[in-house]
């Protein structure tokens, strides 16, 4: 098989970073605490990430990029599936939108970036599979790999699913207004952060 898995996410120095408030857009439960609600279903078979292995409800930093990882009680939504949501973005310059997410089988789609000057441009969002023993396809860095995967009635210690750190380029750096996500429910997002590259 052709090997496409070497990480190619080249970092520019991080300047200002603004975690995006996506609380109002969370619509899915994909993480469960060990008290187990049984409601977690990151994928169609009801698999979920164990909350104890993720920085749920905290501001966490990966490769110097801060992310606001949603709280997860196994009942309230802790992430979103991409279903065409329009998410307002904080004002300010940005060169990249950093993303924590994963897909059910790798997939890609375009997002629409709405700029402060009234223009809009499409950019690619590409997410690799969360499935254990499956590497990144699109140059993402590994954000989290949990030591187990939850099944509806048991915890599987031999399965370690992944959440990826991906980024979307911002073509016009003078300011964003919103991001419109694709209609692709195979794509799951936990957090977005706007990053301005340091001069």
């Amino acid at each position: 098989m052709v090997n496409h898995v070497s990480p190619t996410l080249v970092r520019s120095a991080v300047g200002a970073a603004h975690p995006v408030a996506i609380e109002d857009f969370l619509d899915s439960v994909g993480v469960e605490p060990n008290s187990r609600s049984g409601l977690g279903a990151f994928n169609i078979w009801g698999n979920a990430f164990p909350a104890e292995a993720l920085p749920c409800g905290t501001l966490t930093e990966l490769d110097r990029v801060p992310f606001r990882f949603p709280p997860a009680d196994g009942v309230r939504p802790d992430h979103l599936r991409c279903r065409g949501q329009r998410i307002p973005l904080p004002a300010g310059r940005a060169d990249w939108i950093h993303v924590l997410g994963a897909a059910e089988r790798r997939t890609e789609d375009d997002v629409l970036l709405e700029y402060a000057d009234g223009s809009a441009r499409r950019q690619w969002l590409r997410l690799s599979d969360f499935w254990p023993q499956t590497g990144p396809r699109f140059g993402e860095r590994l954000a989290f790999r949990t030591g187990s995967m939850l099944y509806p009635r048991h915890e599987q210690l031999t399965m370690s699913p992944s959440i990826w750190h991906q980024r979307i380029p911002v073509a016009v750096s003078d300011g964003l207004r919103a991001i419109v996500l694709p209609h692709n429910p195979a794509m799951h997002l936990f957090a977005l952060t706007l990053v301005e590259a340091a001069a």
């Binding site: 509806p152 599987q156 209609h183």
Partner: protein
């Protein structure tokens, strides 16, 4: 007596499932390159109602699963349906004892290394590559995560092979309710596999493009009939259009299973073919093939979306019909771009 066949190593493609993984392991054990054989085909074919509830389903693969997966190569597979558990074991033991790794259908519920063990019934395919009579063990190779290669007891293996595969929970709805029946499968490879060279690559691409653009299935060459037989580019469009229409009516729950399973097979074939093109582009220094690989890969990623759109639509298929239509439009646009580039490349 103990037999452990050599040259049995894991092979898996991340867009495939247990069928591709098992065929890859078996092909490699027979000295063939899995990507070169499994990755050559790229087409579309489906006959309405043909669906079988098994993860190793392939349209038009009832006679020869491997033949349907690899129509450009002299390879084939044959199912065996032994009448009872004792014969089922003897047949596999004899084949492995003769030096042939084979595939066995199993219910994961009975396999200790599978996550579904004692939890969920679901059918699966894996490779048998050895046995140990004194230990009463059988050696299995399963590259599907969590990857496993080793021994389980013969009793566990027998239970997995003769499970009724019932639907116990509101869980793996796609691949349950289909008894395993002790089935096992052996493959035949060659003789005279085509050389991995640019002539072969051109021949394969020409045939794939001709079938897709000619609205024919690749394996048997059936023409799209505008009704229940979907073939080639037109068949792809009609299949997705028909799925959306059935979903919009909202009275046809089978459309979810049928579209999900067929989309899974197309996703696998398309994804493996993209890597085949990339490998050809690299091996023969043909950047246009590498570029085509990227376009075909994009088509695969549309199928990833189709699969999950329909799987999440079970409660309200009508609400997702528009999403399938929109996805079909961009999928077909990218399919056409890939076909154009491939036609120019050869």
């Amino acid at each position: 007596m103990r037999v452990e066949l050599q040259d049995v190593r894991p092979w898996r493609h991340d867009l495939g499932h247990c069928l591709h993984a098992t065929m890859g392991v078996l092909l490699r054990a027979h000295g063939a390159d899995p990507l070169q054989v499994l990755g050559a085909a790229w087409g579309f074919g489906y006959r309405s109602g043909d669906l079988r509830r098994e993860e190793y389903y392939v349209p038009f693969g009832a006679g020869s699963l491997l033949g349907a997966m690899a129509p450009h190569h002299p390879v084939s597979s044959r199912w065996h349906r032994p009448p009872d558990p004792e014969t089922a074991w003897t047949q596999i033991r004899d084949a492995v004892g003769d030096g042939r790794a084979v595939a066995a259908a199993v219910d994961n519920f009975h396999l200790p290394f599978r996550p579904a063990y004692r939890d969920v019934h679901t059918n699966h395919l894996l490779t048998v590559y050895g046995f140990d009579d004194e230990r009463d063990e059988v050696l299995l190779a399963d590259p599907v995560p969590p990857r496993f290669q080793g021994a389980i007891t013969r009793d566990e293996f027998a239970a997995a092979r003769f499970s009724a595969n019932p639907e116990d929970h509101d869980r793996d709805l796609f691949f349950t309710r289909n008894p395993i029946d002790g089935r096992w499968l052996e493959i035949t490879v060659g003789p005279d596999l085509p050389a991995w060279d640019l002539d072969h690559v051109r021949t394969v691409i020409t045939a794939n493009v001709a079938a897709l653009e000619g609205d024919r299935t690749l394996w048997d060459g059936y023409a799209d009939d505008g009704a229940g037989l979907f073939g080639g580019r037109r068949g792809t469009a009609r299949f997705l259009d028909a799925a959306a229409a059935r979903m919009r009516r909202g009275d046809d729950p089978e459309v979810v299973d049928e579209t999900f399973v067929v989309a899974g097979t197309v996703l696998a074939e398309t994804g493996v073919h993209a890597d085949w093109l990339a490998a050809a582009g690299d091996a023969f220094a043909r950047p246009e093939l590498t570029e085509a690989a990227r376009l075909v890969e994009r088509v695969a990623h549309h199928w990833s979306a189709v699969r999950i759109i329909v799987a999440n639509a079970r409660a309200d298929t009508a609400a997702a019909a528009g999403e399938v239509e929109d996805r079909a439009a961009v999928l077909l646009t990218d399919l056409d771009r890939a076909l154009d580039l491939l036609a120019r490349a050869v």
